[in-house]
Symmetry: C2
Subunit: 225 residues, 2 copies
């Protein structure tokens, strides 16, 4: 690569980062509906054409937001996961740090929800376009399960991270609807859900429960197919 090519790429990357940062700031401050490519271009100090060159649509910028949120989620979860081997505590870490990343967006959450809820939407968390962001969360859940000392039957481990991702999305859905101060009701739901999980986990080894539970997990994990 010639030196001028490196410079060009660097300049292009810098422009891209400027646009991305302006978009993420706008999503946080204005929400989804009021954010437009025109405003982002203006605030990044570039033309609409340049913005479109880097990001074909507003929804491509939502994917950048998803990536930022999920990377922050992983970075927050990892050091805490290093502090315990208990499976339920580890899952609690992942769910709690996930909710914490969402907090600044609660005001605008209904807008993001409307825009992303259709299975046909590119910003749906289960869409092909959201794969990179989704894979980060699934990997965090996989680590949480793999690094735990637990007595779950081996056959559960494969489908569990996908099922946990869905649980995380359902918890986020509950959080969107949660009008209590600081969304403390969602925190309580999580605490109590984890408490129930703690006492009921040993039951996954009980023969009559094991087969139907596993079948259920398999179907839930297929939701994206």
């Amino acid at each position: 690569m010639s030196s001028s090519e490196v410079q060009a790429s660097t300049r292009s990357e810098r422009t891209r980062a400027l646009i991305r940062d302006a978009a993420l700031r706008s999503f946080r401050e204005r929400g989804y509906d009021a954010t437009t490519i025109r405003l982002i271009a203006q605030e990044a100090g570039v033309s609409v054409g340049t913005t479109n060159y880097h990001f074909a649509s507003k929804n491509d910028l939502v994917q950048e937001l998803y990536l930022e949120v999920q990377i922050a989620h992983r970075d927050a979860a990892e050091p805490l996961l290093a502090t315990t081997y208990d499976l339920v505590e580890r899952l609690g870490v992942v769910f709690r740090t996930g909710l914490a990343q969402l907090a600044p967006y609660h005001r605008f959450a209904p807008e993001f929800l409307s825009a992303s809820m259709s299975p046909r939407s590119s910003t749906n968390p289960l869409s092909d376009e959201s794969t990179a962001a989704r894979d980060i969360v699934v990997a965090v859940f996989r680590d949480a399960v793999a690094g735990a000392k637990h007595s779950l039957p081996k056959e559960f481990e494969d489908g569990l991270p996908s099922a946990l991702l869905l649980a995380h999305l359902l918890l986020a859905l509950f959080w969107v609807y949660d009008k209590s101060p600081g969304q403390q009701r969602t925190a309580r739901l999580l605490d109590r859900g984890l408490r129930l999980l703690k006492v009921s986990l040993p039951l996954a080894r009980v023969r009559v429960l094991r087969a139907p539970l596993r079948e259920l997990l398999d179907i839930v994990a297929e939701v994206r197919v």
Copy 2:
């Protein structure tokens, strides 16, 4: 009431029914997005002004659709509920007849979902505006529980119908995403969920599970608050 008042009311009611029927047909054939007040008025043979007099917005007509679907749900469930006292079988009846009513709308389900998913949307199934339709389903679930021979602790019975409504809505959400032929994956999810419920119901009496399970149900039932 004078005879002319009765006539006027009857004429007005007939016009209202014409508009309502045209709207419901349009939702079924065109979906949510492509249905407009203008088209409905045209097909009902009345003016846009007359349509607006009876229904202030398209979303008021979605409420009529919800009512029709839920009344059909109740009518389909009731005779089947008369055939069994088994709690899990009775819940199966309510979930299955509920899904059956949705079947004709699967093609357009993503549109209805996008329009109704925001907690701020009047057509959200948990909104104040949807209370009449929602109450019909909750009452069917209440009947299903109350008419069953089961050994569930008494304290569960109060919150159960609301929790079952949420389960029904989540099942419908899974169904919207289900691209399998005839949405057979949703039917399988339901079958296996019911099978798991059947074997795990007796556990609700186990002391260590009972308190956290009940607390969880209480929070879930509060989702609308």
